[in-house]
């Protein structure tokens, strides 16, 4: 599980570099994100533009991170590929996560 991070004002932008957020990557993803949250980054934009596969374990890990972060005022998701967006729709996760096409929109939304 590889991620890349940078600060934009108060917002931490975390880009997932793995192509697959699946059962193998889920735990590692959860641990990495938990570390960010525990290290005092309450506002996080998750850039998923490199991820082209998410399964129910990956989704579960994202839900767990969302809970830990304190909800969708604290965590926003951007750049999901079409197939991943479809998976979010199927599982109603598009209503649970704040989702944006562009990273800049997601940063703006959390910065307000």
């Amino acid at each position: 599980m590889q991620v890349e991070d940078r600060k934009e004002g108060d917002v931490l932008v975390v880009k997932v570099l793995n192509k697959r957020l699946d059962a193998q990557a889920a735990n590692d993803f959860k641990e990495k994100m938990t570390e960010y949250i525990n290290n005092g980054s309450p506002l996080i934009v998750l850039n998923m533009s490199d991820v082209d596969f998410v399964d129910s374990s990956g989704l579960g890990a994202m839900v767990s991170v969302l809970k830990l972060s304190g909800g969708d005022g604290q965590l926003a998701v951007c750049g999901t590929t079409e197939r991943v967006a479809r998976m979010f729709k199927l599982t109603r996760m598009n209503k649970v996560f704040s989702m944006f096409e562009e990273e800049s929109e997601a940063i703006d939304a959390l910065s307000q």
């Binding site: 699946d22 399964d55 129910s56 599982t91 649970v96």
Partner: protein, 153 residues
């Protein structure tokens, strides 16, 4: 695979991995490619990949309890009008209850009630939502989840 006369035309390939989550992506990549070369659309191929990956994860996590050194078999059979994928293990069989309860409804949620949104339990509902049928059978120590998708060509 049995010896058989091919009365009905089909193509078949069996994929086998060890019960190791690291190797599941190989199954996913291969199933996706087999679907797209039928050809199915990118969306259909991805959705079938997702279902097969969910089923294989379940065999590893639930049937084998994440114990390494077992095998998960995926048998891909393409008939002129339908695709059948069997996902088989030799671990602990699934409770029939799990199959029956898992209707499409568990995907419905109250998005305002974050605390009550589950972190698990979406595998079988996803499969039910995407495939045309899903059946489960245990025979002489081998458990097979059979997924069917009709093909409109």
């Amino acid at each position: 695979m049995q010896i058989e006369d091919r009365k009905e035309r089909y193509k078949r390939i069996k994929l086998v991995i060890a019960s190791n989550l690291e190797d599941v992506s190989l199954i996913g990549i291969v199933i996706n490619k087999l679907c797209s070369s039928i050809p199915l659309s990118d969306t259909d191929s991805y959705q079938i990949e997702l279902c097969v990956v969910e089923a294989v994860n379940n065999s590893i996590e639930h049937a084998y309890g994440n114990e390494k050194g077992h095998e998960v078999e995926v048998i891909f059979t393409l008939y002129p009008d339908r695709l059948i994928v069997d996902v088989c293990d030799t671990g602990k069989p699934m409770d029939q209850e799990c199959m029956e309860q898992k209707d499409v409804s568990p995907l419905e949620i109250d998005s305002n009630d974050l605390d009550n949104i589950a972190e698990q339990g979406r595998g079988l509902p996803i499969i039910k939502a995407i495939m045309d049928s899903m059946t489960y059978k245990t025979q002489s120590g081998k458990n097979c989840l059979t997924l069917k998708k009709n093909i409109w060509s």
